[in-house]
Structure formats: C-alpha cells, structure tokens
C-alpha cells in the first residue's frame, strides 16, 4: 500500500511537471523577444564579490555571445576588479545598496546575475523580473518565509513573462547527478526509505571576520556596512550556514524524493565560534526531515576548524543505495562514466541555451522550496520545536527582509543569537514553561 501511494505520487509529479512545462512553452513563445537566437546576452552583475565574480566569468565562458555590460555592488571597492576585467563603462557601474535598481533599469541588459548576500535576493529578484530580465541567482534565495513567498511570486511572474531563472545549485546541472537521479526516479534503488546529507567542514572566514570586526569596533564602519561586509555571519543576510551552504545537499535530497519534507525537528548551537565577530549564527546543526510516508532523513552541517570534513548525500532504497553522484549499489548496480564538465559553467550554458531556444528554464519555485527546507531546519534548531512545513509557510510570521531604503550608513542592531528555550519562533504560540 505504501508502495502504491508512492508510485502514485511520483507519477503525479511527473505528469504535473510535464503539464507545467507545456504551459511554460506555450506562454514563452509570445512575450520573449530579447536574447533570442544568436542575440548577444548582455549581462548585469549584481554583487561583485567572490561568487558574483565567479558566476560572471563562468557565464562568459559558458556560451558564445555573452558580454558583461553592467555592474552593481554595495561597495565601490568590490566592483573594481570586474570593471577592469570586463572593461565595463563607468555609466554602467552602480554603487550602493540600491544600485541594483539602477542596473536593472538599463534597457541593454537582458540577463542579471544575482550574487549578493541571500537576504537581498527576494527584492532583487522581484525587481529583475519586474524589469523583464532573465536571471541567474546564487543560492540560497531567501532567509525567511516572507522572502520565500516573494521569490515564489516573482518566479510565477517570470513564467508568465517567459523569463528564465536558473539558481546556483549547480548539482542540478552536473551530469553525474542528473544521470543518477534519472535512475533513482526510474526505481533503480526501489522506494527511498532512508537518506542522509552533510556539509561538515572546517572554519570559514576566520581572519576576515576578525578584520571586519576591527573595522567595525574602531568606528570605521557603520552597523549596516559591517553586517553587509560580514554577511556570512549575520542571520538576516546569510540565513545561517545551514541555509547558506547546506542548502546544496538538502536540495539533492528533495530532488531524489521528488518531494518536500512535511515536518522538521532540529538541534544546533554555537559551540566553538562564539566571538562577536561571528555575528549571530550557529556553527552546527543536526536536523531530521520527515518526508511523505514518514521517511526520515538526516541533515548535518558544521563549520568548526579542525573537525572531520564530509560533504555528500546518500539515499537508501528498498533495492539499493546511491551516493546521488554517479554510483548505485544493490540490485541494479551502476556507475557513471560520462564526462564531468564544470557544473558552475554548465548551469550558465543551460540557462543561456534555454533563453535562446525560447524555452526558458525556471528553477525559481524549486530553489525557493529547497531554501525553505533549510530555513525550517534552522528555525527548528533555534527554537527546538518540531513543526510542519504547512504550518511554517502559512503561520510563521518571521520576516527578515531588509527594510526599504536601507542605507549603508544606517544603524541596525544585530539580533542576539538564538538560545533554545528563550528564542521565540514568530507565530508559534508556546505554552508557558519552566526550565527544569
């Protein structure tokens, strides 16, 4: 019985995907004019830090006829290197927290790369779609349920307008993953009954956090400038490391199931990375996700220097086990032996091809959902409460979106890091309790 239900769900998913695809195709043919055929893809880069710069280069490398024509960043100093590299005109370079609006107003930009901190993604995506731009956006795409809703809405608008959205969860464009997933979805490992995913690594930005903190403490930087430059450690900007980094692996598990977890229960804390330079995020999470039919999975992530690395995924089914990345063991053993192109380039090639073919990819909803799962894991660990996804999306009132008109010179206090038992998950009515 369990099996039949699952098959039904899978079939449903398959058929709905096909239907949605057909709709996209039908809709896309009408409004999309720019960037068709051999037209030049004229890229505006929003967020010129490490990831934005990397994405810009990968984008250019991915396909012929791609030019970087405009840049925007909160900070002038972050913009210089790309400006020189791609010889971007002065009047196409914009600086400030609102610079993205100016860039997106340019008519000669038809694709934007969003590489700013995740907290800024929802309003920036919305603006890009409003302005009719195709989008490559880094993951994650939001840090709170309010942001997720904004992204889903923008993504739906993109579909209506025939615009493409591809997200930087590059495993989705990596042939060894794609081929493995095809087989998993075809039943090569049977029904999935167990799964695990990990992003356990050492320290990150240890020196940078210290320098940033010194600049902040000495008064050189305002609250908002420090937070934005130190964004990795600030919840409203990065979403914490389970969202910022581990979303990759959670997304793979969602992919394997072709479904989202219904429930979550997490643990976490700030055990080693305790200094004020590390803002208000945790350094470890352990989260249990409950997929349909009560299939329970492990998600584990950690950023602590000197600890054991493990970044991978694994799914176990009734007929076999897979690492999701080119290997299946069990009744239907298989190993991927095809090429391994750089997935950071492939994702751009896929995006641009889809635009030029007139059948734009739209990964907006999907990456919003995977981001949502990571956010649920974080909030469950902060509050130590177990809750449903449906509750979280309909009732949780957490809103970490940056206020309109936020300026770098503004002061904006950093929320204290979450202490379980004290942390109130917005929207959750908690019973009166005493510490025992």
């Amino acid at each position: 019985m369990v099996q039949r239900q699952k098959l039904t769900r899978r079939e449903l998913l398959k058929s709905s995907a096909v239907t949605a695809g057909a709709l996209v195709l039908g809709g896309a043919a009408v409004p999309l004019a720019e960037a068709r055929g051999s037209d030049t893809i004229r890229v505006g880069v929003v967020g010129c830090g490490g990831r934005g710069s990397g994405a810009a280069r990968d984008c250019v490398k991915s396909s012929p006829g791609v030019r970087i024509v405009a840049l925007a960043d909160a900070f002038g100093d972050r913009l210089t290197s790309l400006k020189n590299e791609f010889k971007v005109r002065n009047n196409h370079c914009f600086v400030g927290l609102d610079a993205y609006k100016e860039l997106m107003a340019l008519d000669d930009v038809n694709l934007v790369i969003l590489g700013t901190p995740p907290g800024f993604r929802p309003p920036q995506l919305a603006e890009a779609i409003r302005r009719g731009k195709n989008v490559f956006m880094e993951k994650p795409v939001a840090v709170c349920p309010a942001g997720i809703k904004m992204v889903i809405e923008a993504s739906n608008k993109a579909t209506e307008k025939g615009l493409a959205i591809v997200a930087g969860t590059q495993r989705r464009h990596e042939p060894k993953y794609v081929e493995t997933m095809k087989r998993i979805h075809d039943g090569a490992i049977g029904e999935i009954v167990s799964a695990q995913c990990y992003w356990n690594q050492g320290g990150l930005w240890v020196d940078r956090a210290k320098t940033n903190w010194d600049n902040y403490k000495s008064g050189k930087w305002s609250d908002v400038e420090w937070q934005t430059r130190n964004w990795l450690f600030i919840k409203w900007l990065s979403g914490d490391h389970i969202v910022e980094q581990h979303v990759h692996n959670i997304d793979v598990i969602n992919w394997a199931f072709n479904a989202l977890p219904e429930q979550v229960h997490g643990l976490g804390g700030r055990q080693d990375r305790t200094g004020p330079q590390y803002g208000n995020i945790f350094d470890h999470f352990g989260v249990e996700f409950f997929y349909p039919d009560d299939v329970r999975t492990i998600s584990m992530c950690r950023q602590i220097p000197g600890t054991t690395n493990r970044i991978s995924e694994r799914v176990a089914g009734t007929k076999g086990v897979s690492n999701c990345a080119g290997s299946i063991e069990g009744e239907n053993p298989w190993r991927y032996e095809g090429p391994n192109p750089n997935p950071y380039v492939v994702e751009h090639a896929d995006l641009i091809k889809s635009i030029r073919d007139g059948s734009p990819l739209n990964e907006g909803q999907r990456i919003a959902e995977s981001t949502l799962c990571a956010i649920m894991g974080r909030e469950s660990a902060y509050s130590r409460q177990q809750f449903n996804r449906s509750w979280f999306m309909s009732r949780c009132t957490l809103n970490l979106l940056p206020p309109d008109g936020l300026k770098l010179s503004d002061s904006k206090p950093v929320d204290p890091f979450a202490v379980p038992g004290k942390y109130q998950l917005p929207g959750l009515v908690q019973s009166k309790r005493r510490r025992g």
Partner: protein
C-alpha cells in the same frame, strides 16, 4: 555478520555455563549457593531513587530474596534507605541489615564486596561502575547494574573484563536496560532478526526531554561530594545525557543490528543549560560556598554536560541511523524506529509492511521483569550475562559523545582498541575534598 554475531554469543553462553560448573567446584563455592529455593542475599549499592526502586523490584521478583547490606557515598542516605526498607510491610522479615552492614564513603563498594551478599544491586552514579563490578565479581557476587555502566572508554573496557570474569565464574550480570526484558520487544526482535522487515537500512532513536534537577549547596559536603550529589551535571560522573539516558534507545538500535555501529559522526553543544537564573540554590551560590565568597569561577558549578547531541551511527551493513538526544524546556520525545527493505517497526510491538504484525501477548513491566529473569537465571544455574552487551551499548553512546565533543569521525575499532580516554579519577584519589572539574567540551576537543 549479524547471524554469526548471534551464534557467537550463544556459544559463548554455553561456554560460560561450563565454566560456571568449574567455578562451582572451586574456590568460590561459598558465594554460589543461591540455587533452587535458597535465600539470595542482596546488597544495595547506591541509595538514590533508582537504587531504592531497584532493590524493591528485586525483593518483589522472588520471595527468597533478602536484603542484608546497604552502601552509598553518603551516610545519611544509607541509613534512611535501611530505615525505609525496614518499615515497608511488604518486605517484612526480609530486610535483615545489621549495623555493621551499612557502608558509606568513596570506598563503600570495597567494603560491600567483603560481606556475604550473593547479589549486588548497583545504582550509584555511572562513573564508578567498572571498579564496582570488578570488586563484586572478584568476590563472587552476581550483579544487577543500572545503566549506563561507564562514562569513558577505560570504564567500558573494565566492565568487559569484569564480564569475562563473571562468565568464567558462572556469575550473572543483568543490566537495567529494561526494554530487553519486555516480552513485546523480545518477540518483536525475534521477527526483525528473522528478516520480517527485510534487510535493515535505517533507523532513528530519540531521547529528548525537558531537563533535570540541579542540587544546590548542602551543608557538610566537601566539594567532591557535592559534585557526586550533582553527578548528572558532570560528564566524568554521568557520561552526559546521551550516555546516562539516551543509552536505552541506543541499546535498542544495537539490538536491532545485533551489535554496535562501525562508524560514528556527531555534532552537538551546550546551548542553553544554566543553573543560575531562578534556581533554588543557584550555581553562583555553590561557588561562593566553596570559594570563600568568591563567584569568579562560578560557571564550572553549572556542570559541563551538553544539552544536545545529534549523532549518526553507521552499522556493519552500511545502514546509517540517527540518534537524537538532549534537553530543552517544554519538549519531549523518546522512542525508536527501524526501517528495513520490507517494512518498518516501532521497535516495541509493531511491524508495518510486507509482514505486518502486532504483539498481542501479555505486557510486563520491564523494570520488574529484569529482576525476575536475573534471579531465575541464577537459580537455574544458567546465569544471564549482559555485561559485554551493555558495555558495548555504553561505549556506543560514549562514542557518539566523543565524536560530538571533538568534531571527529572514527570507527568502532579505533574507539574500542585505540582510544586512550580515561576521565574518572583512580580510586586512591577519591576522597572528600576538592572537586574534579573539566571545561565544557568545545566541539573541537582533542581526540584521545
């Protein structure tokens, strides 16, 4: 692997019986007269809540049980335990504790081992179990011991060694992981081991609760004695919550797989635990009492245990299981689930899937049944010996804790054979005086 493991333990048991016969003929003859309907003389070691409960369950298990000695770190507890037992009408005439059979102090277990008890009920803090069991089996006593049986790797090895001696001498060791004695679970596990849910591919176990007591300063206790009174809060004495409490559920996972995991990976921390705000007898006050009014170093009196550990056990066949433990106000979750290729089970009384099944037999109280099984096994001359098994389950919990404390992954083989972890002070250093404090683990502690 699982099958051979099982066979091995069966053959071990028959070997033990044979060894027991040899022992009977030998020097320890005086201690193994607890056969048939003979009286079984019981000594209670550890007079806290669990000890007083266990000794009563032991008395109820068999009419031939008599309590003849009581021991604890604290004199007052020894005396009040004896008095309450004497006053209990249910056990009239079966509590025969002379004044010279009351033992207290850090060496009370050594004194107890010199008396004429046939069976010891052990329920002190877990740190001392290894040396207590060693003293008891050397003296030829059968053992009922509470779980867990150690707080460090060295302690687990000592219990394994004591368990071997018990085997050679034909002595019984039963441990307070009572789920192993519940009829429903025993019947269920038979089916799981027979393949009713197919090959095991995953599992989960949980002990997540609201929190525990904290005991403030008490007049007349040295710092180390105060620490022992607050044993739960110190890793070296309790083994942390994952070891002290969650071991029940971890033991079930090991039972499903018929052995301990082969690999450990865990994260965790201490995110909220503090016993200074709104606490009767807060940590700061304890600090001031032991430090001439200064509370500079008060946080160590909060204890050093964590409040959450999230661990993954990888078992011999590659299955990866979750262990989820901790404390947080207003929460509660404590059960297990096992997942196979043909079905799942709640590890208690139900199988869902291809071979759906529900236990419909008699339900027994495991905490009573474990004593009945123990005494039956002694009387029948086929002593149960759960020593090795509970040492393995304890080491499984300790392994997860070490992995979380250090941030490192490692194997069972490394843990059992190469870890040098030894955190309990030797017996000669245990005397009323300064406490033994360790800093709270960082999540990147050195792996030893």
């Amino acid at each position: 692997m699982t099958a051979s493991k099982k066979d091995k333990s069966i053959s071990k048991r028959s070997a033990a019986t044979a060894a027991g016969a040899v022992a009977l003929a030998g020097a320890v003859a005086s201690k193994v007269h607890a056969r048939g309907s003979d009286t079984i003389k019981v000594g209670l070691l550890g007079c806290g809540g669990r000890g007083n409960g266990a000794v009563r369950q032991c008395l109820q298990a068999d009419p031939g049980v008599e309590v003849i000695a009581v021991a604890d770190l604290f004199e007052s507890r020894v005396k009040s335990s004896r008095d309450r037992l004497m006053r209990d009408n249910k056990f009239k005439g079966r509590v025969k504790i002379d004044d010279d059979h009351l033992f207290w102090g850090f060496d009370c277990h050594e004194k107890l081992a010199r008396c004429e008890a046939d069976l010891l009920c052990m329920a002190t803090a877990p740190a001392f179990r290894g040396r207590q069991m060693m003293a008891a089996v050397k003296a030829g006593m059968n053992i009922f011991t509470e779980k867990p049986v150690a707080t460090d790797v060295a302690g687990c090895r000592e219990v394994m060694a004591a368990s071997k001696i018990a085997e050679q001498k034909g002595l019984a060791i039963v441990c307070g992981t009572q789920r192993r004695h519940e009829f429903s679970r025993v019947e269920l596990m038979k089916r799981i081991h027979d393949g009713q849910i197919g090959e095991l591919v995953g599992g989960q176990c949980y002990w997540y609760g609201g929190g525990i007591w904290y005991r403030g300063y008490q007049e007349g206790l040295s710092e180390l004695e105060w620490q022992c009174l607050n044993w739960y809060h110190f890793n070296w004495i309790s083994g942390d919550q994952i070891c002290e409490q969650h071991i029940h559920n971890i033991d079930i996972m090991n039972w499903c797989f018929n052995g301990p995991p082969k690999n450990f990976t865990a994260v965790g921390g201490r995110a909220w635990r503090s016993y200074n705000d709104g606490q009767v007898g807060p940590a700061k006050e304890v600090c001031r009492k032991y430090n001439n009014g200064s509370d500079v170093d008060w946080e160590k009196y909060n204890g050093d245990i964590w409040d959450h550990i999230f661990a993954e056990f990888e078992y011999a066949n590659g299955a990866r299981c979750l262990s989820f433990s901790g404390h947080s106000p207003g929460t509660g979750r404590g059960d297990e689930k096992i997942v196979g290729t043909k079905g799942t089970s709640n590890c208690n009384n139900r199988i869902s899937g291809e071979n759906a099944w529900r236990y419909e037999g008699r339900n027994v109280n495991g905490m009573q049944q474990e004593h009945i099984d123990l005494i039956k096994s002694i009387r029948s001359g086929n002593p149960l010996n759960e020593g090795q098994r509970i040492a393995e389950s304890t080491l499984t919990a300790i392994g997860a804790r070490i992995s979380a404390y250090t941030g490192r992954s490692f194997s069972w083989n490394w843990l059992l054979n190469s870890s040098k972890q030894d955190i309990v002070p030797k017996q000669e250093y245990l005397r009323p005086g300064r406490g033994v404090f360790h800093p709270t683990a960082t999540g990147r502690d050195k792996l030893v």
